[in-house]
């Protein structure tokens, strides 16, 4: 990662991911417009395209919002997360095409500017049935544009992961606007339950998935209630941690990943500097902690990426006492060297898993 712009580093996984994504979008659009033309033979190509692009973008947004919680619940979904940003940019392009064609078809031939027409065609903000749904879609499109425009690692490096993450959490606001856009727009005109049902199921799926994932994660955010010894907190036994793996604990409200590797114990922040991925769910590969999301690596004893990379995460002082792992809850500055705690044979306890 660098503050200078670098083009996307293509690798085989990204190419396969993008091919599958492109093929899926083309198939969906072909199916949607083909069936639409059969059901409504008089429908114009513009109308079918407007609806096809809109439906594809809305569906893709549901897929994107599902990936995060699915990965929290089952690591087998991690390959979907690897190139999620390309999916987000694809979704924005589809949404932009929907918006542009709608603007031309419904607002492009009047005597006022199309954007002025978009916001002034209706001012019935006091009525749910008459509510101007198009500005809701426009608002969502602006948010999706900001997200797509800042999706490159260049912005991630310049803004920093917390700011970048906060900006990209506005996807939830865009989703809320789009639920309003669809519910108060097309579903007011198209009264078939076969259209309302998928929207309801999609909403229930996204919200339900997030709530289930949040429930399973809640236990990780409960502070460890271990005995304190000389300012360090007893977090677990040495044998509770599998070799080359980590145990994640919460200390003072922050998650800490405690890794066991090569007869040693080290502790670092659980948040990867890249996109705040869960380092503690990764493994030690070639002597480095490896993030399960995008493969960013850090040396366990100092939280620094191996040269020439420059990423750093906070480290924590750690000791072993009578087979128990003790961690100082006060984080060291990112990249601070900390001597790993050495595991004596007597501390080892149960055999490595």
């Amino acid at each position: 990662m660098s503050h200078a712009y670098r083009a996307v580093g293509w690798n085989r996984q990204k190419k396969v991911y993008d091919r599958i994504l492109t093929l899926g979008v083309i198939l969906f659009l072909g199916l949607f417009m083909g069936v639409g033309a059969l059901l409504r033979p008089n429908a114009t190509a513009e109308t079918l395209m407007i609806r096809g692009f809109g439906a594809a973008a809305f569906l893709l947004l549901h897929v994107i919002l599902s990936i995060g919680p699915l990965c929290r619940l089952d690591p087998r979904f991690l390959p979907l997360l690897y190139n999620r940003r390309h999916m987000g940019v694809t979704m924005f392009i589809l949404a932009a095409l929907h918006g542009l064609l709608s603007l031309i078809q419904f607002h492009g031939f009047g005597d006022v500017h199309p954007l002025v027409s978009l916001f002034t065609a209706s001012d019935s903000y006091g009525s749910l049935a008459w509510f101007p749904f198009q500005p809701l879609g426009f608002g969502a499109l602006v948010i999706l544009f900001l997200m797509a425009a800042t999706s490159h690692d260049f912005w991630l490096a310049n803004l920093g992961a917390p700011v970048w993450k906060a900006l990209h959490m506005s996807v939830y606001f865009a989703y809320a606007l789009l639920i309003g856009h669809v519910s108060l727009g097309v579903l007011q005109a198209e009264t078939s339950p076969w259209l309302a049902l998928p929207v309801a199921l999609g909403l229930a799926w996204v919200l339900g998935l997030h709530l289930v994932a949040a429930g399973t994660e809640a236990r990780l955010d409960r502070d460890v209630e271990g005995v304190e010894f000389e300012g360090l907190v007893d977090v677990c036994a040495v044998h509770d941690i599998k070799d080359k793996r980590a145990r994640i604990v919460c200390l003072d409200g922050e998650r800490v990943a405690i890794f066991r590797y090569d007869g040693k114990i080290s502790a670092v922040s659980n948040a990867c500097q890249h996109q705040n991925g869960p380092l503690g769910e990764g493994r030690v590969i070639d002597g480095c902690i490896t993030c399960p999301w995008h493969g960013y690596q850090y040396e366990p004893h100092n939280g620094s990426s191996p040269p020439p990379f420059t990423e750093k995460v906070p480290t924590f002082d750690v000791r072993i006492r009578q087979g128990r792992v003790l961690v100082n809850p006060d984080a060291n500055a990112p990249g601070t060297e900390v001597s790993p705690a050495l595991i004596d044979f007597a501390d080892k306890g149960a055999p490595d898993a």
Partner: protein, 128 residues
Amino acid sequence: MIAPLRRAHRRILVTLSLGLPLLFVSSMFVRTETPRVDLPAELGLGRVALPEAPIEPDPLLYWSAAPVRIGQSLPGDARLLGAVRSGLWLAWSPELAELEEGTLFVYSLLDQEVTALIGEGTDEGKAQ
């Protein structure tokens, strides 16, 4: 580190979990509103009844001096007055007040055909 982000994420999730189902369900209820509307009195049109049946997608309200029947394409002299949604007026045109006698009708942009005559057989559908 990222505890504040996690808290913000949790708050957003709780808000959406309460708000979005409410919005969706409410929007489903309002679309059953009766498709009838009182136009502004100064137009001199009185009450205009729109079709009870669900209106076709992307409907537009037109006026034509020529006879109009359901299923036909757009008459050559048709004048666009505004959009209709859920059987209700989304917008209306001041031109209504200036129209001579003719027929108000709903035209489906999607199906490219006339889908309903407004106030057919009564004085309601006639611009006066």
